[in-house]
Symmetry: none
Subunit: 230 residues, 2 copies
């Protein structure tokens, strides 16, 4: 996963400075807003993984910021507040906040609560990862790393599999020898164009019903190879 993105909506400069140091030091990408209005725009444009919002903002009330966010996004919201009153907490949480931290707060606690928030969204995205490629009889299940021709499962060696998936990722488009070598063998072997031919032959024998007259793994003479598309 790339570095998580955090939007911080906070008007007090010293708190911003403190959190900037803490969060960037932990590998988060931080974007700051100093008012509620700015904050709403920032969340819209940055698509963050977590939002941290202070309740005491100069323009809009923090509670109102949360309500507006909840109209269109489920991004985790952590509230920072000087008010430690119980009714403030309840109001913020019921408005849609996911957590509430009272000032003064410790950096490590806030970081831990951010990790909790990230955990939650990590689980949610897990559902949408049905990754499969189908083309005629050929079927590549990226998620389970399995390849089928019709009903029959085909075993591929690591290089064969990597080569195939590289072609799958650019299905329909031509991939040059250079690209394939770089993707499969790494940037150091960019001259052994022979490897590609040898392994393309392997793949054709395993996947094509008539390896000499390929239906899926097509040669683009002088350029590279192409995986046929619908």
């Amino acid at each position: 996963m790339p570095d998580p993105v955090v939007v911080l909506i906070e008007d007090e400069p010293q708190i911003r400075r403190f959190l900037r140091a803490t969060l960037t030091g932990q590998g988060y990408r931080l974007f700051e807003a100093t008012s509620g209005a700015d904050g709403l725009v920032e969340v819209g444009s940055r698509q963050p993984d977590v939002v941290i919002v202070d309740l005491g903002l100069p323009d809009i009330d923090g509670i109102e910021v949360i309500r507006r966010l909840r109209e269109w996004t489920d991004v985790p919201v952590i509230v920072l507040s000087a008010r430690g009153q119980e009714r403030d907490k309840v109001t913020a949480l019921d408005a849609g906040a996911d957590d509430y931290v009272s000032k003064p707060f410790g950096a490590s606690e806030l970081l831990a609560r951010i990790r909790v928030a990230l955990r939650h969204t990590a689980g949610a995205s897990h559902e949408a990862d049905e990754a499969a490629f189908k083309l005629g009889e050929l079927q590549v299940d990226l998620l389970h790393r399995r390849v089928f021709v019709g009903e029959r499962e085909v075993h591929l060696t690591p290089i064969e599999y990597k080569l195939l998936t590289t072609l799958v990722q650019h299905a329909g488009k031509v991939v040059t020898h250079q690209q394939l070598l770089r993707e499969v063998w790494g940037p150091t072997h960019t001259d052994q164009a022979h490897y590609v031919r040898v392994y393309m032959a392997h793949l054709r024998h395993k996947l094509e019903s008539e390896p000499a007259r390929p239906r899926y793994l097509l040669t683009e003479p002088g350029v590279g190879y192409r995986l046929a598309a619908e």
Copy 2:
């Protein structure tokens, strides 16, 4: 939605009484446990929507309770604790807790945090969250940490068990050597790939009827291992 089910793991009688009144008054169905061991069983049998756990339990440490729960379920866990120390919070949250409330706490705040937890699971609702894994003769009871082959119970060492459950959690998918090392031995041992082979051999001898021709614990050459799925 029917009334949400809550399991409370707490040894102090006065807190239990207080929460019983509060929660049942709000329409929650409450089940109580007074020790960590009881709590784990209760969560397993009641399938609650939220678990509330005190850190100071008579038998098992509350942190350990959270870890054991996280081996097989994603149910939201809210920690209650007399210790307000920051490092306690971080430990609990990183062990898998979703929220941390320090004593003394107000009823309305706790209720609000329960509502947050319920909101989270409402979205990801119907995940078939079974505490047991079955595949042919092989049967893994995550809740009680027991493993069977047919009728016979098999004893596994801690590492063997962790390795197996890691594969169970990704059943059907390939798990790379790296992942297994990180999950079982921790992020520091990410280069000793032998370990995995040695222990996979152990597991096969204990679980497979024909260790040389495994039916469950499959090798993906050059990549890692995979627990067969239906």
